[in-house]
């Protein structure tokens, strides 16, 4: 799990001795569930400077844009059919994020 790697790397760069909290952005369609992430995170930070830190998960809703008519819509499950023109070429504008946003260290 590389969320932990990113955290530890950055905290070291700062000369910090401990990470207190970590904020991540997780898109609705990132394929990562908050439960799985929490579980992996806890295990991954064990024994390191981020052990015991709080994981704050920000969910990002999925937003798709139709390639044909430009309509913006929330894709229904994974069906990316445009509700306006029924086009199939919509692309995701957001919803696939998996990023470490900030960390609190001391």
């Amino acid at each position: 799990m590389s969320v932990a790697q990113i955290v530890v790397e950055r905290a070291r760069e700062e000369g910090a001795s401990k990470a207190l909290s970590v904020t991540v952005e997780v898109g609705e369609l990132s394929g990562v569930t908050p439960e799985a992430l929490e579980f992996c995170y806890e295990a991954a930070v064990m024994g390191g400077l981020a052990e015991g830190s709080r994981l704050v998960i920000k969910r990002v809703p999925a937003v798709a844009v139709c390639g044909e008519c430009g309509e913006t819509f929330a894709p229904n499950e994974r069906i990316f059919v445009c509700p306006k023109c029924e086009g199939f070429t919509a692309s995701l504008k957001s919803g696939e994020e998996l990023a470490v946003i900030e960390i609190e260290v001391e």
């Binding site: 990113i6 990132s30 069906i79 990023a99 470490v100 900030e102 960390i103």
Partner: protein, 220 residues
């Protein structure tokens, strides 16, 4: 004294970095690396085994098998005589570039022209993880819904080829192959489609011819 550091680092960025190294490695060896993705049970292992058996007199293969648990699939591959390494992803539902990089050490790929990577059966996450492959091959069986490509558009968009398997079962099903192909082409007009049966061999010629052109491309 606590302070907050802004990071904004994409977790996948690290994966992409390693994938780039893998890709360079494959290219430097003229190895055509294919990442097979599908829903569970679509027929990836069967397709890989049959392909190797039918072509092994002409070319050598190496295989990386990704499964959450067990090495059942790796054992099936082993019987073909091809080199195989098993990765158990355990809690992860996909292979990532680092797992591939680490497993490359246990394969002696001398003489191999193809590296087949069987991903974990899942149409969601594997679409986001570049392994450094030359292309992704989506496998879909006629026992699934025709609308799979529309339900998982990302996977079909990032795949260069689609193998529709188990066509021997068509007489017993209502599956509309043309409709499935239509859907796939709608989300990815460039995708190359092959309709095959691993059981009776139907359609495999076209798939093999396609594969053989890939090795020429990689060997250049």
């Amino acid at each position: 004294m606590a302070k907050t550091l802004e990071i904004r680092k994409n977790v996948l960025a690290k994966n992409d970095e390693i994938a780039r190294e893998n890709r360079e490695f494959f290219q430097s060896r003229g190895l055509a690396a294919l990442n097979f993705v599908s829903s569970p049970g679509a027929g990836k292992t069967s397709l890989i085994v049959r392909t190797i058996n039918d072509l092994k007199a002409r070319v050598n293969f190496a295989v990386i098998e990704g499964d959450q648990q067990t090495d059942n699939d790796a054992k099936k591959i082993e019987q073909t005589g091809a080199q195989v390494v098993q990765i158990n992803t355990v809690s992860s539902c996909h292979l990532d570039a680092d797992m591939i990089k680490k497993s490359l050490g246990s394969l002696d790929m001398d003489g191999a022209k193809y590296l087949f990577i069987e991903n974990v059966g899942n149409l969601v996450c594997p679409a986001s993880y570049d392994l450094g492959e030359m292309m992704k091959v989506a496998v879909m069986s006629v026992t699934e819904g025709e609308d799979k490509p529309v339900k998982y558009p990302k996977m079909f968009r990032v795949s260069s080829a689609l193998v529709i398997t188990k066509t021997d079962l068509l007489p017993y099903l209502d599956f509309d192959v043309d409709l499935a192909v239509d859907y796939a082409l709608k989300v990815n007009p460039a995708i190359k489609v092959f309709k095959v049966s691993v059981k009776n061999g139907e359609g495999l010629e076209g798939w093999y011819n396609f594969l053989l052109t890939l090795s020429d491309a990689a060997g250049r």
